[in-house]
Structures are given as C-alpha cells and as structure tokens.
Symmetry: C2
Subunit: 109 residues, 2 copies
C-alpha cells in the first residue's frame, strides 16, 4: 500500500498570521483539538464530531494544510491528517501546547 504526501509549506515558510487565521475558526479549532495527540486521523466528519458538508470539511483541511498546521498523506482513496507539532514547536515554541490546552478547556472534549 503506497502512501503519497501532498504539497506542504516548509518549516521556514510557516507564517504566524496564516497559522492564526487558520485556527481562528470554530471548526478548525476543533480539528486541532482532536489532532492534538499528534497521531494521524481520517478526514471524516464523525472523527471530529462536526456537522459539515464533506466539501466544507475538505476546504478546512486544505486551509490547515496550506498554513502549515497539518500534514496530510494519501493512502489509496483515504486521507489521513496529523498535526505538524514538531515543526510548529520549532517555529513558535509553546504556541501549539497553549492552544490545545486552551481549546480542550473550552470544548471539554
């Protein structure tokens, strides 16, 4: 089973404004909360407990990926996404951790 990787910005290209813009949305903040464990997750709405059209969800994943927040790999007809925690930590130390703890506190996942 081959695993292909999509286009992602490099660590240096990750821009703070774009990261914040990507995360300043309830749905995408929810994605962050679930992906906080660093593992890969399927891109289905149930995984994130979101009631959104699949094209809308696809849009959100694209925004997250292009901002450098997430990494998506393609396996067959499935896609899996995980948080780029190490890269974000390298670029903005402490940011992701504080966001995750903040969002989980609010959402009481």
């Amino acid at each position: 089973m081959e695993s292909e990787v999509l286009e992602h910005p490099s660590v240096e290209e990750i821009d703070l404004v774009e990261v914040l813009k990507a995360l300043s949305d309830p749905a995408r903040l929810r994605l962050l909360a679930v992906m906080g464990d660093g593992d890969y997750h399927a891109c289905r709405a149930e995984v994130y407990d979101l009631d959104l059209h699949k094209s809308t969800l696809s849009h959100h994943f694209k925004v997250m990926r292009e901002a450098g927040v997430t990494m998506t790999r393609v396996t067959g007809r499935n896609r899996e996404t995980r948080l780029r925690k190490e890269d974000l930590d390298a670029r903005f130390p402490g940011l992701v951790d504080s966001l995750i703890s903040g969002v989980t506190k609010e959402q009481t996942t």
Copy 2:
C-alpha cells in the same frame, strides 16, 4: 486628570476563537508586538509604525478590546491601551508569550 475605562469583556468571557481572530491580522499582530511590554501606549499610528488611516487604526483597537486582548483607558482627549497579559495568561497560559516571541522573531522589531 481623571481616567475613565471603557467596556471590556471579563476574564471568563474571553473566547479563544475571538482572540485568535483578533490576532490573525498583520496590523493587529503588530499592535501586540509593541504592547508586549505590558505598558500603556498611545493610540497613534507612529507608535506602532503602521501606515493606516486613523479610523482604520481605531477599528483595530476596537477589535482587540472587544476580544479581551487589550485594555483601553481614556485620559482627557487621549487614549492609552495596554495588553491584558495577566487575564490572557490566566485564561490561556503561555499563549501570549509564545505569540509575542513568535511575532517579534518574524518582524525583527
């Protein structure tokens, strides 16, 4: 000289999405960078090295204030704004520090 204080959200009312939305803008991230010292700053464009119309700047300050990011007091015909660092730290520990160090790194203030 009297000092009046405007309406601000309480600590509990500070919402993460609103905070991130407030900060996901280059101009307002610039405001954060300057206000990072926690002191009061006049609301003039030169202070922040921003080339924006005064009404635009006023708008940005309003967004920041209503999101709970900043505190503004009125003294005579002047306004001074400072970061609500303690409140933000209490609500989202570590967030402000990581943002400030991130933005100063990018902007090389």
